[in-house]
Every structure is written in C-alpha cells, then in structure tokens.
C-alpha cells in the first residue's frame, strides 16, 4: 500500500518508516484510524509495551485481500487515558479489554471496559513493569485464606 497517502493527509503529524506510522500526538489517533479503516479490514493485534513512565501502543491492522499490514505507534504517559478505537474496528473490543486488564490503560468510550483474563478482584495490573510479584500475589486465590 502506498503510505504517501498518509503523508498527504496528515503532514508532519505522522512519521513514516517502512510500514510503521508514529503519531506525534495521541489526539490524532481516531482520525488516523478512521483513515486506516478505508484501506484495512481488521485490527490484527494491539501490543502495549510499558517503558516507564510511558506506554507505547502498537496497533497492527491487516486486510483480507492481501498480506499488507500497517503498524501505528502512539505513546502515552502511563497515567493518561486514550480514546477507544472499538467503534471503528470491532475486533479492538477484546484487545482493549486485555490491555486494560494487563496494564490498566483506560480506553475512553469503550462499550464494555472490564477485566477479561483475570478475575474481577485481582489486585493491580500485572504486565506493568512496576508490578511487584510478592508472595501474596503468588498464592492469590481470591479467597480469604492464609498460607
């Protein structure tokens, strides 16, 4: 796919390197993603990388007619929230729930932002780099038991 289209449309708001688009500002995310949805069918993966004090969100989009993929990279501070893209790409719904579950990122306007893999009363968000795996966590059962 010709990524020049993105350069024409968004100018210096995006930085293009091969098939990786880096957004300068997280506010542009929804606009860029809507533009992506003209050419791509589905959110293929959402990869969150915690580099304290920042989260790096990598959205990979793919389409069914060929093997093109595009990766959109956006950085947010680990205390901020970000807009949900699930009303543009339906498959983002569970991926964003997983990101919330594992990292505690709040996605604004998400229809159903709950934990997905962990129990509802799990303490904390385990994939964050500042999450400490204590003895208590290792033996966590959800019940009031003492080991």
């Amino acid at each position: 796919m010709d990524l020049e289209r993105f350069r024409e449309r968004f100018g210096d708001k995006v930085k293009i390197d091969k098939n990786i688009l880096t957004l300068a500002d997280k506010k542009d995310l929804i606009r860029v993603v809507k533009f992506v949805s003209k050419y791509f069918d589905v959110l293929y993966m959402l990869i969150v990388v915690h580099r304290p004090p920042k989260f790096e969100l990598n959205y990979i989009f793919s389409r069914y007619q060929d093997q093109e993929i595009i990766q959109i990279k956006v950085e947010i501070s680990d205390k901020e929230n970000i807009a949900s893209i699930s009303n543009v790409f339906k498959s983002a719904e569970w991926e964003e729930r997983e990101a919330y579950d594992m990292f505690g990122i709040v996605f604004r306007d998400h229809p159903d932002l709950r934990r997905i893999l962990l129990p509802e009363d799990w303490p904390g968000h385990p994939m964050r780099k500042d999450f400490v795996v204590t003895e208590e966590i290792k033996h966590w059962t959800g019940l009031d038991l003492k080991f």
């Binding site: 993966m45 990869i47 990388v49 339906k90 385990p126």
Partner: protein
C-alpha cells in the same frame, strides 16, 4: 415462557476446555449471549519476560496443547528474526514436516471432538487411533508426545531419526485411506451428520472481516487466504498444494475444510519427505544469548488460524515484551454473534465446529 439465561460451562464436556457461555434463551432459540474467558490464564506473556529466551520453549508447548509444534516453530522463528540469523535448508524442511504432522493431528482431534459432540463416538475413537500413529512418529523424532520441546533457535534439537521416510510414508497411506473412506461413511457423507451440521451456525464473510477470524473458519466462509501460500515461509513456495475453500460458512463447511486440509497436508508431507536435503540441521546458537533492542513480528499459519508473535527486546537475555496473537481469541469473540438465532441443541455443534482451544485463548 419468557426469556431465561442458560449458563454453559466453564467446566462442561462439550465446551472444549474452560469456556463459559451465558446464553439468553427463549423456548429453544438462542437470542444472544455473552462469552467469558480467562479460566485457563497462566500468565504466559509475563513468564516470557522472566525467563531466558530458550527457557520459554517448554511454556510455548503448553500454550496450545493441541498444536504445540506449530507454536514452537513460530516462537523459534520470531527469535531468529530478532537475531537476524538464517536456518539451514534441512531445518526448513524438518519444520515444514513437523508443522504439517501437527496440523493433521490437530484436525484429527477436531474431527474426534466434533463427532463426540454430535453423539458419534465411533469417529472419536477412530480419529484418536489415527492420531496415535502420528503421535508415535513425533515421539520417535523428539522424545515427547504432547509437549515435544523439539525446536531450538537456528534449527531443531536433534536430526530426524534414521529411516524416517519408511516410518512416515505407510502412516500417510493408511491415514489417507481412512479419511477418504471410513471417515466419509460416518461423517461427511452420512445423512444424519449432514442434518446436524448443514446450515447450522452460519458465519458470514462480514462477520469474519469484522472480528478478524482466520484459518479454516475463515476459509469455510469463502475467503481464500493462507499464509503458507501468500506469504510463504520456510519452503512452502516450492511445494505444490491447494487451499481448500468452501462457500457455505456453516458447520458442515468448516468440517469439510479441515478434512480437505488433512488431504493437502498429506500431499505436502509426501513432497517434503522426498525433497528433504542432507546436511546440517541447526545453525547452532549458544544457550544464553542477548538480542539487541529491536522489534520482531512474525506470523504463520497455525491449525486454528494465523498465529503471530511480536517480540520487543531491550538488549538483555530475556524478552522485554512478548505479545502472542491467538487466532482462537478472535473466533471466540465472534461467538455471541454466530450463536444468535440458533437452536439450543445446535449450540454445541457450533462451538465444536469453531474449534477453539482455551489454552491459546487465555494464554
């Protein structure tokens, strides 16, 4: 009688693991539902950050216990891409052979479990009997059965055993005969089987595209796409095989795609065994190694769809972040939409025909 909520699972013999389905039911029609996952979550991605790259191989086996070798190959490939190393031609062929053996084994489990859910125990025992033949071969190759731990960065742990072709070729002949004759009689040419599966749980092309469903489920809905063909890795571009596609999108089509994929895998295996080159089988790497800061993304065609791994490294001996894309995760996400309007009795047919493996969904 009004609407009731019917809870199925998480521990139920027909949900193929620990899938919990909360269906809203009126009389015997399903109005909708909600899926709950996470009962088999084992923190695989967190463990990957705490182990040496090579020490994570045993965990990849348990990630998806029905097609362990495919995921091992995927994990080895992502490490090789991050390291920027190439593997010898023999190793490529060995990996193709292993991937196809595992694909057949995985589809046989599907056929067996599907038969069992329809009340057809005969095909369940038959499928496990044929799988056992391949299981013995995997055992002779690697020493393991469900969890082989055979792959290494740069190749494989050992070479294939002596006389490998005389071991596998008779098994393939037998398997082909069974799939084409015996299985045909009790499943896909059987009128009862057709009644239970045709038109049940139709997955439309739009739903496939909306949720990102891949693999046999997608091909049963009329989309021709296979990473082995369109983005060939290893030696798939030099092998001759077809991509089975069905248009109906129902449970029967999903079954047929898998039956025909077994036949194609047999074809691939025969070619790969014949063309297997001599020589080195591993580009040996040290047990402990560092990977400079980089990002690597690899995707391959696993039996349940497109599996992918995204590895982020920081120059250390452990992964900084490893994200696993499980194809079943996306299929299960679409389940509420697929079961809408179905009969309660067909619910298990639909779940079984989508072939989710919860170990892979929950990671």
């Amino acid at each position: 009688m009004g609407e009731i909520e019917l809870n199925i699972g998480p521990v139920h013999p027909a949900t193929h693991g620990v899938l919990r389905l909360k269906a809203r039911v009126e009389k015997d029609t399903v109005l909708g539902g909600d899926v709950e996952i996470g009962y088999l979550h084992r923190a695989m991605e967190k463990i990957a950050e705490q182990r040496l790259f090579n020490s994570f191989f045993p965990n990849v086996d348990k990630l998806e216990y029905v097609s362990a070798l495919n995921w091992e190959i995927l994990y080895a490939s992502v490490l090789e891409k991050a390291l920027g190393i190439d593997i010898p031609p023999r190793a490529k062929y060995i990996r193709v052979i292993l991937a196809e053996i595992q694909r057949i084994m995985s589809h046989l489990i599907f056929i067996g479990a599907f038969g069992q859910d329809l009340g057809n125990i005969t095909v369940f025992t038959w499928a496990l009997r044929e799988r056992e033949l391949l299981m013995d071969i995997v055992e002779k190759i690697s020493g393991g059965r469900l969890a082989p731990m055979y792959l290494r960065v740069g190749g494989t742990e050992y070479d294939l055993p002596e006389g490998f072709d005389s071991m596998i070729l008779p098994v393939l002949d037998r398997l082909e005969e069974k799939v084409n004759k015996d299985y045909k009689a009790v499943t896909y040419e059987n009128s009862l089987f057709k009644m239970r599966t045709k038109g049940v749980g139709v997955l439309t092309r739009d739903t496939v595209k909306k949720y990102g469903i891949t693999g046999p489920n997608m091909r049963a809905s009329g989309i021709e796409r296979d990473l082995r063909r369109s983005e060939p890795y290893f030696v798939y571009d030099s092998l001759d095989f077809d991509i089975p596609v069905e248009d109906a999108g129902d449970s029967y089509a999903r079954f047929m795609v898998r039956i025909r994929e077994i036949q194609e895998s047999i074809k691939i295996l025969r070619q790969a065994v014949r063309a297997l080159p001599k020589g080195n089988y591993i580009n040996k790497q040290p047990w402990m190694f560092k990977i400079p800061p980089t990002e690597a993304f690899v995707r391959q065609e696993c039996p349940r769809g497109e599996g992918a791994m995204f590895l982020v490294t920081d120059g250390g001996m452990k992964a900084y972040r490893l994200k696993i894309r499980s194809p079943s995760f996306y299929t299960v996400q679409a389940m509420p939409e697929i079961i809408k309007g179905a009969r309660v009795a067909d619910l298990f047919t639909i779940i079984a025909s989508l072939d989710p493996v919860m170990g892979e969904v929950d990671r």
